[in-house]
């Protein structure tokens, strides 16, 4: 049953997977916009790109979980035939380690393998599973502390990631031939990441193939034989690693530098800033009328810092007419949208106490407020009574903006609010924020896009849950931000 890992069955040149002109659209979002790539045994493909460039979507298309709306995916099966679809992908030996953890927290480590390996049945399956996962863990992460009997929910984030990676490389009825790793090192510390990288090298040397996605450019350089750079659903550069320099990569990824001076309206930084109105234990601070940016890679504690601050400043006993802070959510489904409400109701929620007379909502006032914001911010709908979900993502986001800005809160907290917002709207929103700031409001603005962060008066860069740099004035530039967010030697500063 157990075969050697990564046995190269087919000729080295025949690609395991071939993607031709694959397209995936989620509504108006073009997550993949005509991507073609192949990967052959022995190759390690590094895939990089900004947040939302379409990397994870490409992974889902390659492993068969997502059927592209256009284009083709073909797998070379072990017996030489061509195939497509989830079952063939599995039969071809394609394994994925997803970006969001996809283990079941209630299972043990060895049981988790059962969900992925269909052949684990019958008497003694636990022994087999235990053997497979223990072997893989020992091989990839020598010296690890994980017992196969531990419950996943009790492992640390890093340990869970290690389990997923090990499961991806573990033996099975069909040995792993292509392992896709979507940001596998984001929660691993440097030493363990190093173990993984060297395992990838051995795996590829033995004829296995790997797709490696990471924001840690140093790692990608270490491990990839070829690097593809994605941007807005397309591959904009694809060369052997040796032909890239790190600076060249950043140039390829970054797209702000040229527009920066133009985007930054003259005088915006010169607004007279008032007294300091907030200071948090972790070191965030802001003055009246200041736009404070939070930067760094996704998931390094910015959102948590914002939520903590918001919770500490907003009342529990009643919704007040003059709230201290208002919140603009970025993860709309989780933090913002009331899915069964109309646009109108979604828009007025935070400002509602001021529209209420003896407990009853002043519906005409509500309508006036909504109509006012609709024209101010350009919500594209013919009727504010339509369901919020009938709007495109960008327009939904505008509604959430309006919800916060309509209130009189002196501080507005924004948790990556520009997700899925088109360029034109973004410009409008930037203008709006600048105007509000000029009017004396302060903004705490977390963004995954450097372009936006560069518009701020002051920037805090986060790494591993802590502030790693505070930039002001001319120090706010892409190089400095990247340098402070990436753990990278020799780049930037």
């Amino acid at each position: 049953m157990q075969q050697a890992t990564g046995a190269g069955v087919s000729a080295p040149d025949a690609p395991l997977v071939a993607l031709t002109d694959a397209r995936v659209h989620f509504g108006a979002v073009r997550a993949l916009d005509g991507v073609s790539l192949t990967i052959s045994p022995g190759e390690c493909l590094g895939l990089i790109g900004h947040n939302g460039a379409g990397k994870s979507t490409a992974v889902n298309v390659i492993n068969g979980g997502l059927t592209p709306t256009g284009g083709q995916v073909r797998y070379l099966l072990a017996d030489g035939r061509d195939g497509s679809g989830l079952a063939d992908a599995q039969a071809c030996g394609i394994r994925s380690v997803f970006q969001e953890l996809s283990l079941c927290p209630n299972l043990t480590v060895l049981e988790s393998l059962r969900v992925i390996h269909r052949d684990l049945t019958g008497i003694g399956w636990r022994k087999v599973a235990q053997g497979r996962i223990a072997k893989a863990l020992a091989e990839i992460f020598p010296g690890h502390q994980i017992e196969p009997g531990m419950t996943v929910g009790e492992l640390t984030l890093a340990e869970r990631q290690m389990v997923e990676i090990a499961a991806g490389f573990s033996d099975g009825r069909m040995p792993a031939r292509l392992v896709i790793l979507d940001e596998p090192t984001s929660s691993l510390d440097a030493a363990i990441a190093r173990q993984l990288l060297s395992h990838i090298n051995t795996f590829c040397a033995k004829g296995g193939a790997v797709i490696f996605i990471s924001h840690m450019l140093g790692e990608v350089f270490d491990v990839a034989t070829r690097i593809d750079v994605m941007k807005d659903g397309r591959i904009i550069a694809s060369k052997p690693t040796s032909e890239f320099t790190q600076q060249g990569l950043i140039d390829a990824m970054g797209h702000v530098a040229a527009e920066k001076s133009a985007a930054r309206a003259p005088g915006s930084a010169k607004t007279e800033l008032g007294e300091e109105i907030l200071k948090t234990p972790e070191g965030l601070s802001a003055r009246k009328g200041e736009i404070v940016g939070l930067a760094g890679l996704a998931g390094h504690g910015q959102a948590e810092a914002l939520a903590r601050f918001y919770m500490s400043r907003s009342g529990k006993l009643g919704q007040v007419k003059q709230p201290e802070v208002a919140f603009v959510a970025g993860d709309r489904g989780r933090d913002g949208v009331m899915p069964i409400w109309s646009i109108l109701r979604n828009l007025t929620l935070t400002h509602l106490p001021s529209l209420t007379n003896r407990g009853l909502v002043d519906r005409d006032g509500e309508r006036r407020l909504a109509a006012d914001w609709r024209s101010r911010i350009g919500i594209r709908t013919d009727n504010m009574d339509n369901l919020i979900l009938s709007l495109s993502g960008g327009n939904q986001q505008k509604v959430l903006f309006a919800r916060a800005l309509a209130s009189s809160a002196p501080i507005v907290v924004m948790d990556d609010p520009m997700r899925g917002v088109d360029v034109g709207t973004k410009q409008e929103a930037y203008q709006l924020i600048r105007n509000e700031a000029a009017g004396g409001r302060s903004f705490l603005w977390y963004s995954t896009e450097t372009e936006e962060v560069c518009q701020c008066d002051r920037v805090f860069v986060f790494r591993n849950g802590r502030i790693s740099a505070e930039l002001t004035g001319d120090n706010i530039n892409e190089e400095n931000i990247l340098a402070a967010s990436f753990e990278m030697q020799g780049v930037g500063t």
């Binding site: 079952a87 079941c104 209630n106 299972l107 059962r114 969900v115 992925i116 929910g153």
Partner: protein, 314 residues
């Protein structure tokens, strides 16, 4: 709550109650006494396991009590008079359960409402079968439930068997693992290419199966059935699963804990009766015991969380 310690609290509660009962009524500390204390807990334990199967996939079953009553009526009538037809009806009932599971998943219906509706349906069928209490337990089940094994009384043997078998089925077997995975992260299961609808149907079928066992055992103990005989099993079974360390979501369940939870509830009744409380307060005391045990659970999970946070920061 920590998986390893999940079982600790139910075991402690049961041990504590058992000690109290033995103290109040030393006679209970015998072969005969243990059997009397626990034999009626056997069908409750089975119903609790059935409820656990549903809670394992993040649903809840409000019809298990009337379902067990229905099964009891079938057992005391058809299974006794025409065994083949009786078995066929019970099999059909299990299939109906499986169908409900699939329906709930595919049509995205709220399980709580569908099972509420089903509770009326099973209750109606039971009343149609037995308008007045009666029927006779099949001889084989009667003798099975009154068998006197050496050393350990039947009730204890049965509970250990139920706990053991369901533990094996759910916690050890490969299929059980998949079923629990549905409760833990249905999306991940679907992403690996499994049909969640089929798995849910399987979980519901298991619930139906244990519900059938519960009804059959109940009739074996009581010798006859009536249409209202097990109505309170619905709430008892939910409470049993929770007392046993299970949770409403996340596939976090423990079959051994569920059996112990059921035994704890049964024992709580005996304990209150040995306490000679005034009849006025006998009902309220049951509520108080439930609240007490669940409040202790909170202390456990709080402490656990603190400890974990400290460990992570340190």
């Amino acid at each position: 709550m920590n998986g390893k310690y999940r079982i600790l609290l139910p075991v402690l509660s049961l041990a504590f109650l058992l000690a109290a009962v033995f103290y109040l009524q030393p006679r209970a500390m015998s072969y005969f006494g243990l059997n009397l204390l626990f034999n009626l807990a056997v069908p409750i334990a089975l119903a609790t396991i059935a409820q656990m199967m549903i809670m394992m996939v993040n649903d809840i079953d409000l019809s298990i009590g009337t379902f067990v009553s229905f099964v009891a009526c079938v057992t005391a009538t058809f299974l006794h008079d025409t065994p083949v037809l009786g078995v066929a009806i019970l099999l059909a009932a299990i299939l109906a359960y499986a169908g409900l599971g699939a329906l709930i998943h595919i049509r995205q219906l709220p399980a709580i409402v569908v099972t509420l509706g089903m509770s009326f349906v099973w209750g109606g069928l039971a009343v149609l079968l037995l308008p007045s209490p009666g029927g006779t337990a099949p001889v084989w089940i009667r003798s099975l439930m009154t068998v006197k094994p050496p050393l350990v009384p039947m009730a204890v043997v049965a509970c250990v068997l139920i706990a053991g078998i369901s533990h094996f089925l759910i916690m050890r077997s490969s299929t059980g693992t998949l079923l629990r995975a549905v409760g833990g992260n249905a999306q991940a299961v679907a992403r690996s290419g499994w049909s969640v609808a089929k798995l849910k149907a399987g979980a519901y079928a298991l619930a139906g199966f244990f519900g059938v066992l519960s009804g059959v055992c109940l009739v074996g103990l009581t010798t006859s059935a009536d249409a209202n005989i097990a109505l309170r099993y619905t709430l008892l079974s939910i409470a049993g699963v929770i007392l046993g360390g299970g949770e409403f979501t996340g596939g976090k369940i423990s079959p051994v804990g569920a059996v112990i939870g059921a035994l704890t509830l049964a024992l709580a009744g005996s304990f209150l009766s040995f306490m000679r409380l005034s009849p006025d307060w006998q009902i309220g005391a049951q509520g108080a015991i439930l609240i007490l045990v669940l409040a202790v659970r909170l202390l456990f999970s709080r402490r656990n969380r603190k400890w974990k946070e400290a460990a992570q920061n340190g």
